[in-house]
Amino acid sequence: MHDSSRARQRARLPNFFLILLIIAAFAVPVIVFLMLYEIGNGSIDAMRAFGLSFLVGSDWVPNPANGDPPILGALPAIYGSIVTTTISLILAVPISLGVALFQSELSPRVLRAPSYFLVEMLAAVPSVVYGLWGLLFLVPFMRNYVDSGLKATLGFLPLFYGPASGLGMLTAGVILAIMIIPYGSSVMREVIIAVPRSQREASLALGATNWETIKTSVLPFARTGIIAAVVLAMGRAMGETMAVTMVIGNVARISPSLFLPAYTIPSVIANEFTEVAGNGVYLSALFELGLVLFAIAFIMNLLGRVLIARMAFRAKGETAA
């Protein structure tokens, strides 16, 4: 009949709006694959020149004095990234857990909203402002009070060897810790809140105090999620560029001393990208570092989210039971 054929025609007309939505949705995967392609493409020269030894090479000499080709190894940057991230986690994880517990369980109700607000303000400060404060305030502070104190008491350790200028892996670790506390504590807080009420109520019904409930029922249940928060914070710390570049001293070196200027992967890229001037392998090596950084951040992010999903699955199961 006339009507049904018109209806069939109308149903076959493409919905232009849906096409618009699909195109927009494609933007995300396209950006990811383009990013991998461009950065991978940029790294090829360095991969051909240095191969796998790039990742373990400990010499970073972009412009050798006698005109030889550059010798570039990523180990100083990787070492610095690992050490500064470790220091930041040692400092930030306990504090983040304390903040998360404060915000979710232990503070008086009336303080909850202000406490969320204040920690969010900490997260909203731009990285370069952290760097400015770090360079002009924290570095002198570390040099004059903390480093000298550490040298006086523990100066025999190779960790604290050398002149303390304030620029170095210790200061960078401190500033990274400050920057990841808001992120780490917010993930931990969400994870703690996600623990099913049945767990808490069962513990309280058995006569446990508030703290005993937290220690024996809430935290063990949330353990996977808290580890997830640490992994996610680790990824964030490894990728932080500006604040670290401004306080780490930017010298390619592998040394146990936390006081000597050093490098991290993002700060090498930030510091030296504009100095590559025609040196093809140098530029390509920086791209390869970018690829390494992308891989590290990707793995940490994925791992963290898998752990959170696993905990959410458990929480759902417990609630149903």
Binding site: F17, L18, L20, L21, I22, I23, A24, A25, F26, A27, V28, P29, I31, V32, M35, E38, I39, G42, P94, G98, V99, F102, Q103, L106, S107, L118, V119, E120, M121, L122, A124, V125, P126, S127, V128, V129, Y130, G131, L132, W133, L135, L136, F137, S185, W211, R236, M238, G239, E240, T241, M242, M246, A270, F273, F287, G290, L293, F294, A297, F298
Partner: protein, 269 residues
């Protein structure tokens, strides 16, 4: 009780840097503020006089370009994810979350290779595109989350009345989720306004006002970085002043957005 004390101590400890930064920026930056500061362009580093006009212009222009790219794509992508769930939507959402974790300097070298290397020039456009690429996943996820909160009865009621899916989305769903979407957009703007690394190799920085988006451009963040890392004392004061302006803009945007969304929640809606 001791644990309450420990947790409170941790919380206060976390606040110390915030207070220190606010205090230092206010104290040091105030000295740099003047009429000239807001009306002149940057002096050579170490020189006297001058202002941050070109940096403010660059920041606004590049965040603007980023928003033009990031907001429409992010909102539509987020809408797709919530209205047409399935395998594709699942992977897009996963990739969006991965993108938010990518360090911003990686985005910077990506856009360098994509635009700057092929165009053989640094430009505000490249900087804006880098910021836009950062905004897309953030806005996508926040729009998706806001739309997920709209109750299905509204969705189904609209469709039951015969309103097409696209009209339902635009006139009913997005308008119901309006405040959540706007919050997400505003927060992403505040976030990219404070970014430096993606602009280092795309916009490069400049001492002059822009004649067009294909010129290199400065931004408040690039200015702070260049002036703070220089050895000159008056450049440091300049950087504090710019940081004061930037911090004011970013923090007040954050506070307005959060206050407004809290009002909406407890209001008549």
């Amino acid at each position: 009780m001791i644990y309450v004390a420990l947790a409170s101590f941790a919380f206060l400890l976390a606040l110390v840097p915030l207070i220190s930064i606010l205090y230092a920026t206010l104290l040091q930056g105030y000295a740099a503020l003047s009429f000239d500061f807001f009306t002149k362009v940057t002096p050579p580093i170490g020189g006297t006089g001058g202002g941050i006009l070109n940096a403010i212009e660059g920041s606004f222009v590049m965040v603007g370009i980023g928003s033009i790219i990031g907001v429409p794509i992010g909102v539509f992508a987020g809408a797709y994810l919530s209205e047409y769930p399935g395998k594709f939507a699942y992977y897009v959402r996963l990739l969006a979350e991965v993108l938010t974790g990518v360090p911003s300097i990686v985005t910077g070298i990506f856009v360098y290779e994509l635009i700057v290397a092929s165009q053989h020039r640094f430009s505000a456009l490249a900087g804006g595109v880098a910021l836009g690429f950062m905004m897309i996943p953030i806005v996508t996820i926040s729009t998706n989350e806001s739309l997920k909160l709209v109750s299905s009865s509204i969705r189904e009621g609209s469709l039951a009345l015969g309103i097409s899916r696209s009209k339902t989305l635009i006139y009913v769903l997005l308008s119901t989720a309006r405040s959540g979407v706007i919050t997400g957009v505003a927060l992403s703007i505040a976030r990219v306004m404070g970014e430096t690394a993606p602009l280092l190799f795309t916009a490069l920085g400049s001492q002059f006002l822009m004649t067009g988006i294909n010129d290199p451009a400065s931004s408040l963040t690039l200015l702070i970085f260049d002036f703070a890392t220089s050895p000159y004392e008056n450049a440091h004061v300049f950087a504090w002043g710019a940081a004061l302006v930037l911090l004011f803009m970013v923090l007040s945007l954050n506070m307005i957005v959060r206050a407004a969304s809290r009002l909406k929640v407890t209001g008549t809606e």
